[in-house]
Symmetry: C2
Subunit: 437 residues, 2 copies
């Protein structure tokens, strides 16, 4: 039976998870008012549209499609989505492609071609509701000729091997693709496009989520070539990739391009929105809230120590927020695995924090992955408080040793402090909560 | 010529350093109003005292003694301080012992004996002003017979080797000493004691600073024996230490002991007070301020990433504090050295942060050690902003490589972004500043 702070923390977490649920996320941001579809700050009068197409890709595309079908019903002309695994029972008038992920396959390419076709065929009187979520980049591959899917894969691998960062990889990807980097929006023009985005990218850079198929792209062919040169791989990428990057155009559509006047990119789910939902719930429970950051990155155990240090400051000096306080952070940390134990970044976070707050009263720390799958475990995360280390000791466990062995799962399993949600079907990174009484 | 944010950051840092300066710290918290010494919440009518003794130890004891002499002048009967190096020109009626640190020596023991003698000789009509600062534990060693200084040293080393934490080491130390753990206050009783403390301990645990010679001690002989047992070293510590710990008393004075009615322990300088001074200055410059924590610990580069993440959140969402914002943190991080470069934890902090904020406008990050000596360098720290990486690149430097090589000094030296204060004679850990415009 969890104590009140633990109950509160779990309740706040659940509200955050609900906000990140793909169907909930769509339903909260899109609604039908008679014949008007209201999404974000725009209103789409359905009477004006001859056809309403739904198209998209991503691990959550199925759930998002079901939600949009729940709203638009028979007003949907047809739909086409690329998913990782088909949990799309109940979809009508939809083509659902089950595609390879994280390594793109020919199914993905066929699906991408189908989606591109819808976009190209749509006219000025048509509306395309695009659905983009995590994994869309791999699930919707459409290499620009003469590049083949296999060459695209090889290029990505080469870039990874030479240490290119995600922005650099995306720049190359966009310029050897026919849909990424805003090119799907260009295909759709002059149709109207409403893209609903479930963001799995820290900071919600629109052009990074699924490589931004309906988002203006600032990068150029020249940038792409410069990246190859930077890593000295101009002559190691497949010849067709080199050839494609040398054509120098047509450039991906840039910010300000008139095609984007008919495009709205709307984030319906994200780490930020989940954190905001958590804030609201924590407030309703009577906590003073503070969002530390939704950009948190770094080695888990040290990030945990900073969180513990903040909890200590709240206790000692009533700052940066007065108790009863709920400090919330998002983003995603990493674990450098040195041991042989079982765990995940969220469970390890709770374990490292537990060590720092040992013996302190009125502090509860929770960390959970919004996908419900923390590392190779069946837990989403764990929670700990000032009594955790003493309870562990009483159970014959040395927290420091479990941490050194990256064995957070067994540590919290024995204490009954794992959080198990099951796979949630969404992924907007992690949520961490500090409750300080 | 530093930009305005850099100027502001350096100005805020300077104010924090000033608050941590030993002489300033004493002068700000102690003043003479005619015949009354006002310190903290207490007033000491000097007319009531026959003698005013000054006694103490620590790396800043010399500067603190000069400051208290500046306030009390000829009212000081005599003084006795143990210091690491004698920069005590101008002290009158003081015995100044230059003692070994961090390894205690016989000078330290002779000095400690002298200080204990003053305490013991003082009567109900006497006031002892005690001065405690970092290093006091090593600089004022007075082993309890039959333990010798050499045995005490060996015991500390044994505890360090078997991984005992600082609280455990302090517990043992207090029980094989005649002055630590409140015992100096007991010797002084029934004299009045005012202890001025310059804290170098994160969290300002009074009983940890210099092992708390005038502070109640909660630990017991039984605790000390349990620690030896925990690490299985009961039979490896010198026989005399074992014998001493078996005498079972007299116990160190506990909280509530009447002797503490005549004792005031007053922190005059600390990381917290330096941070508070920084807050005040930042406000006067027009910044919204937030103290993240004064308890910050952990691996420097990951702590830096969390700070960078907070700066990003301020920029992106105006939280946890609205811009123009000044986020301040204290405490002390650690660096796991893997490279062969030159640097310190504060310079490495600035370097790691610089990588995360590369290209972002209106963020400045600074980190500096209050002792003015960051690692084995002549710098106190460094500062960085969103342009740092680009400037480094233009100078032919790859920030990631410098970080991997722990070579932050050469990185910032080339950019002219080192902070050099020279040794400050104080140590209240580190100060970090984020300015977000």
């Amino acid at each position: 039976m969890p104590s009140t702070p633990a109950k509160h923390a779990l309740r706040i977490l659940n509200v955050a998870l609900k906000a990140a649920d793909p169907a909930e996320a769509v339903s909260r941001h899109v609604r039908l008012d008679r014949e008007t579809l209201i999404a974000g700050r725009q209103r789409y009068s359905l009477k004006k549209f001859r056809n309403v197409y739904v198209a998209g890709a991503g691990k959550a595309a199925g759930a998002m499609a079901l939600a949009i079908q729940g709203i638009l019903g028979n007003r949907i002309t047809s739909g086409f989505i690329n998913v990782k695994s088909a949990s799309t029972k109940g979809l009508r008038r939809f083509v659902v492609m089950e595609c390879g992920h994280p390594i793109p396959d020919s199914n993905g390419e066929r699906g991408a071609r189908g989606i591109a076709q819808i976009a190209q065929d749509a006219g000025p009187d048509d509306l395309i509701v695009c659905l983009i979520s995590g994994g869309a980049s791999a699930l919707m591959p459409l290499p620009a000729p003469p590049v083949t899917l296999e060459q695209k894969r090889a290029t990505t691998q080469l870039l990874l091997d030479c240490g290119a960062d995600i922005h650099e990889i995306n720049c190359i990807r966009k310029h050897i693709s026919l849909v990424k980097g805003g090119q799907l929006a260009r295909l759709a023009y002059p149709a109207t496009v409403l893209t609903l985005i479930l963001s799995d990218v820290i900071g919600d850079d629109l052009d990074a989520i699924g490589s931004g198929p309906t988002v203006p792209d600032r990068s150029t062919f020249a940038d792409a070539r410069a990246i190859l040169k930077k890593y000295g791989i101009e002559n190691r990428v497949p010849g067709d990739v080199r050839e494609r990057l040398n054509v120098n155009g047509p450039e991906t559509p840039k910010p300000g391009d008139r095609i984007f006047k008919r495009v709205q990119n709307l984030i319906v789910g994200s780490n930020r929105l989940a954190v905001d939902a958590a804030v609201k719930e924590a407030r309703s429970l009577g906590y003073h809230t503070m969002v530390l950051s939704t950009f948190i990155e770094g080695e888990t155990r040290d990030v945990a120590r900073v969180h513990a240090a903040i909890a200590k400051e709240v206790r000692a000096a009533g700052r940066p927020v007065k108790p009863p306080a709920c400090v919330i952070s998002g983003g995603e940390t990493t674990v450098t695995i040195r041991g042989k134990g079982l765990g995940g970044r969220n469970q390890e976070f709770a374990l490292a924090a537990a060590i720092d707050i040992a013996g302190l009263k009125n502090i509860l720390i929770l960390s959970a992955g919004t996908d419900g799958i923390d590392g190779p475990t069946d837990a989403a995360g764990a929670f700990a408080d000032g009594s955790t280390l003493a309870r562990a000791k009483a159970a014959g466990m040395d927290a420091t040793k479990f941490l050194a062995d990256n064995d957070s799962y067994h540590f919290f399993e024995r204490l009954g402090n794992l959080i198990k949600t099951g796979p949630t079907g969404t992924n907007v990174a992690d949520i961490r909560l500090l409750l300080i009484g």
